[in-house]
C-alpha cells in the first residue's frame, strides 16, 4: 500500500473509527488519539495491509486499543467514566445495531420521566444530586428511576442476547 492508497484508507475510515472509539471512551481527545495511534501502527506495516480486510482490521485495532485504555483505569475512574468494569477483546459485529436498538428502546419504550432522569445522569453526566436539584425532587427518586430504567433495559437486552 503506497502513501496515496494509505491516505484514502485514512480519509475513508477516520469518521467511522472515531465513532467506534468515542462510543467506548466517551471523550473527544482520547478518541482522536486512539484512531491516530492505530493508523500510526498501520502505517508502520502498510506493506502488509490488504485493502479488502483493512477496514475490519482497523476496527478491531481501535477496539483493542480502547479496551487497553479502559483496562488501565482504576476502579473509581471506571465508575466516573461509566466504563464497563470488565471488557472483552472480541468486537461484536452487530455492536452498532445493538447500540442503536438500545437507544431506540430508551426513546420509545421508557416512561418519559424515567427517560429524562436516565438522560440527565448518563448522557449529560450529572450526579444524582444535581439531577434531583434540577428536577426538584429527591435523590431517592432519581435512584429509583435509574434502577427501573436499567432493569427494563437489562431484561430486554440481555434476554435478547441469550436467544442469539
Amino acid at each position: 500500500m503506497n502513501k496515496n492508497e494509505f491516505a484514502s484508507l485514512f480519509k475513508n475510515n477516520y469518521a467511522l473509527l472515531y465513532k467506534l472509539a468515542f462510543s467506548m471512551l466517551h471523550d473527544t481527545d482520547d478518541s482522536h488519539d486512539a484512531v491516530h495511534e492505530v493508523f500510526a501502527s498501520a502505517w508502520e506495516h502498510r506493506k502488509d495491509i490488504l485493502p479488502e480486510t483493512a477496514k475490519a482490521y482497523l476496527a478491531q485495532s481501535v477496539h483493542n486499543y480502547c479496551v487497553k485504555q479502559i483496562a488501565r483505569k482504576t476502579y473509581n475512574e471506571k465508575l466516573r467514566k461509566l466504563y464497563p468494569i470488565e471488557v472483552s477483546l472480541t468486537l461484536n459485529k452487530h455492536e452498532d445495531d445493538r447500540l442503536r436498538e438500545i437507544k431506540r428502546y430508551i426513546d420509545n419504550d421508557l416512561p418519559p420521566n424515567t427517560r429524562q432522569v436516565l438522560q440527565m445522569c448518563f448522557d449529560e453526566e450529572k450526579s444524582y444530586k444535581e439531577t434531583a436539584e434540577q428536577l426538584q425532587c429527591s435523590v431517592a427518586y432519581v435512584n429509583k428511576h435509574i434502577v427501573k430504567a436499567l432493569r427494563m433495559l437489562r431484561n430486554k437486552f440481555t434476554a435478547n442476547n441469550k436467544e442469539r
Binding site: F10, K11, S23, F39, A40, R80, L99, S127, V147
Partner: protein, 183 residues
C-alpha cells in the same frame, strides 16, 4: 462528571453488577448517537506531518534536537554547490563556530549567494528578498544554525529550499503562498 458514589450505590443493589454493566452499555448507546463534525482532511494533515515523513527527515529532526540539547553549535561546514560547473570548495571539518557573530554574506558575485558561517535566519532573509517570499520560524532555535552554503540565484525557490534541506539540522517547507517555514 458522573459521581462514582452514585454508581457504588447502584452496585449495592442485589443485581448491581448487571445493572452497572447495563449502565455502561447505555452510556455507550448515548455516545454512539452523538454526531460529531470531523474534519478528516485536517486529521490527515496532522497524521501525515507526524508519521509519513521519510525516516531521513525525521532523523534530521532528531539530529537537530541532539545538537541543540548539547548546546554546541557546530557550523555545518559543508559546501554544497548548486552549479555542477563550479568546483566544490572543501573546508576543514568539525571547526566550531566562532563565538562572535561573524556573518559574512557576500552577494557581490552576481549569480551566486555565498553564505559563509551565516545563520539560517540570514540565509532565509536573503532568499526571501531575492524570491519575494515570506519566512516563518516555527522553532526559534533553528534561526541560529550556522551554514556555509552557496546558492545559485538561477535556481527556483523550491530548488533552493531542497538544497538547504540537505543539511542535517535544517528542515524547511515551502507552502503554496510562497512562505518558507523553518521547523
Amino acid at each position: 462528571m458522573i459521581n462514582p458514589q452514585d454508581m457504588k450505590d447502584l452496585l449495592q443493589e442485589p443485581d448491581g453488577k448487571e445493572l452497572y454493566q447495563m449502565a455502561a452499555e447505555t452510556k455507550k448507546a448515548f455516545a454512539h448517537e452523538q454526531e460529531t463534525e470531523i474534519d478528516v482532511e485536517h486529521e490527515w494533515n496532522k497524521f501525515a506531518a507526524r508519521h509519513t515523513t521519510p525516516w531521513y527527515v525525521r532523523y534530521r529532526a532528531i539530529a537537530a534536537c541532539a545538537a541543540l540539547f548539547v548546546g554546541v553549535t557546530i557550523a555545518a561546514i559543508v559546501h554544497i554547490t548548486a552549479t555542477p560547473t563550479k568546483p566544490t570548495q572543501q573546508s576543514e571539518d568539525g571547526k566550531p563556530a566562532p563565538t562572535e557573530q561573524t556573518q559574512q554574506v557576500s552577494t557581490s558575485e552576481q549569480e551566486m549567494f555565498v553564505f559563509d558561517n551565516a545563520t539560517l535566519k540570514t540565509v532565509l532573509m536573503n532568499l526571501a528578498v531575492h524570491y519575494n517570499a515570506e519566512v516563518e520560524f516555527r522553532n526559534s532555535k533553528s534561526r541560529n544554525i550556522r551554514l556555509h552554503v552557496q546558492i545559485d540565484k538561477g535556481l527556483s525557490l523550491q530548488e533552493a529550499v531542497e538544497l538547504l534541506n540537505h543539511f542535517d539540522k535544517v528542515n524547511l517547507k515551502l507552502t503554496d503562498n510562497n512562505t518558507i517555514i523553518a521547523e
